[in-house]
């Protein structure tokens, strides 16, 4: 067992501890009652917090054993995670999005996602018009709702904090959101319709 303050570098397949004493965190897996490391990193232990209200892991009051890696590696979209992407193409039924980041971690290569027209807004789904919600080149924040079909993940922007976070007007200026469905060009004062994210 490592003493406090001593960092142990572990390689994949190295035994870290017993599954009885610890919970397995990121970068580890459990086999035959033992926790093994699955990446190259430093072995760390996170003590359980005393007041855990919604954390399922620490409800059993076992410390979490995990392996930490310094350099951020690339992520893939997982159902339920928040992604940042760029609208590539739109058609009346769906918008193609190049997923660039999953949470705070970038993707090595853009994944392909799709926002179907019924997943853009939470209310009045049948009256949504695509050109009034997204335009190609917009940066949007969305949530992955399913793994989708063979080519693309399915995303949705129904929540208030999801939608367009950055867009340029037809004159090329960065627009500022004025309401949940409008953005304004600060120089020409022209208003363009988008489904904006509530970032404040």
């Amino acid at each position: 067992m490592s003493t406090a303050g001593q960092t142990v570098v572990v390689t994949p397949g190295r035994r870290l501890g017993l599954a009885q004493e610890y919970e397995s965190g990121i970068g580890t897996y459990v086999r035959n009652g033992m926790i093994y490391s699955s990446i190259l990193g430093t072995r760390k232990i996170k003590e359980p917090t005393g007041d855990s209200t919604n954390d399922k892991e620490t409800s059993t009051n076992k410390p979490v054993l995990y392996v930490e890696r310094d350099n951020a590696k690339f992520a893939i979209p997982v159902v339920g995670c928040e992604v940042l992407g760029r609208v590539v193409r739109i058609n009346p039924r769906a918008a193609s999005v190049a997923i660039m980041m999953v949470g705070p971690v970038p993707c090595q290569e853009d994944f392909l996602g799709m926002v179907r027209v019924q997943d853009i807004r939470a209310t009045e789904k049948d009256t949504v018009v695509m050109v009034e919600s997204f335009k190609p080149g917009d940066i949007i924040r969305a949530e992955v709702i399913s793994l989708g079909d063979q080519r693309s993940y399915f995303l949705s922007t129904t929540k208030n904090e999801h939608g367009v976070v950055f867009a340029q007007s037809s004159d090329g200026n960065t627009m500022v959101p004025v309401s949940w469905e409008e953005m304004q060009d600060p120089e020409t004062l022209a208003i363009e319709k988008r489904k904006c994210a509530k970032t404040f």
Binding site: P12, G13, S38, I39, K73, F111, Q150
Partner: protein, 261 residues
Amino acid sequence: MATNIQDRKRINGPTRSVEPISTAEPVEPFASGRLDGRALDQVRPIFMKTGSLDSQASAQAAPSGSAYYEQGKIRISCAVYGPRQGRKSNAKMGIFSCDFKYTPFSCSWRKSHIKSSDEKEISLILEQAVAPAIRLELYPKACVDAFITVIESDGKAATIAAAINCISAALVDAGIELYDSVAATSMALNGTQWISDCTQIEEDSTSCSLLVARMPSADEVAYILQHGKTKIEQTEEGFQACVNACTKVYAVMCRYLQGSM
């Protein structure tokens, strides 16, 4: 038939035939010890470096992980890209694919720049050997691609074993979650003796080669490849010797990986 009648319609070869003079010394590596002085069960010295391909012209072109591996005269470089969007996406598990290529100057005979069927077969061997170690269920719909380039080759079975070790190191450098690193070694049978990690010269005089890829942490064998005929007891004996050698190779790999952090 008279030998002095000449066929004037064709271009004739020489009328007299002479035995070719062999300039190579007859090589007997196993009678008086191996050519490079190794023991029968000793693997060639290994050098490894991860992250060798990290800096590229554009950040997009840089692979997630890379490794450079040397074992004796064998030199191999591997680049791992991923996890990234897969061409044929599987909803449940990720897909691991290998691309193996000899450089034209790597073997004693020049290789073509077009991938031959031999290289395609070795690509499949590498995929089957390393895929069991990757936690592909964590990467649904994504694919992990490994590109292996053999800069210098010395012994076919030994080169494939070195390629497996190199891919393992590159996957660890890429941060792809693995159950364990895969360590591989090869042996060749000369008469009744199993010689470990043969060079090309040694391999040419053997009748059978055996390659074993192993995951020592789970004590599981990922892949066994045998070329040639043996008796069952000989294969068992060779397999056991390979397993012992794999453990040593694994220890060397882990030490390099720990030192790279």
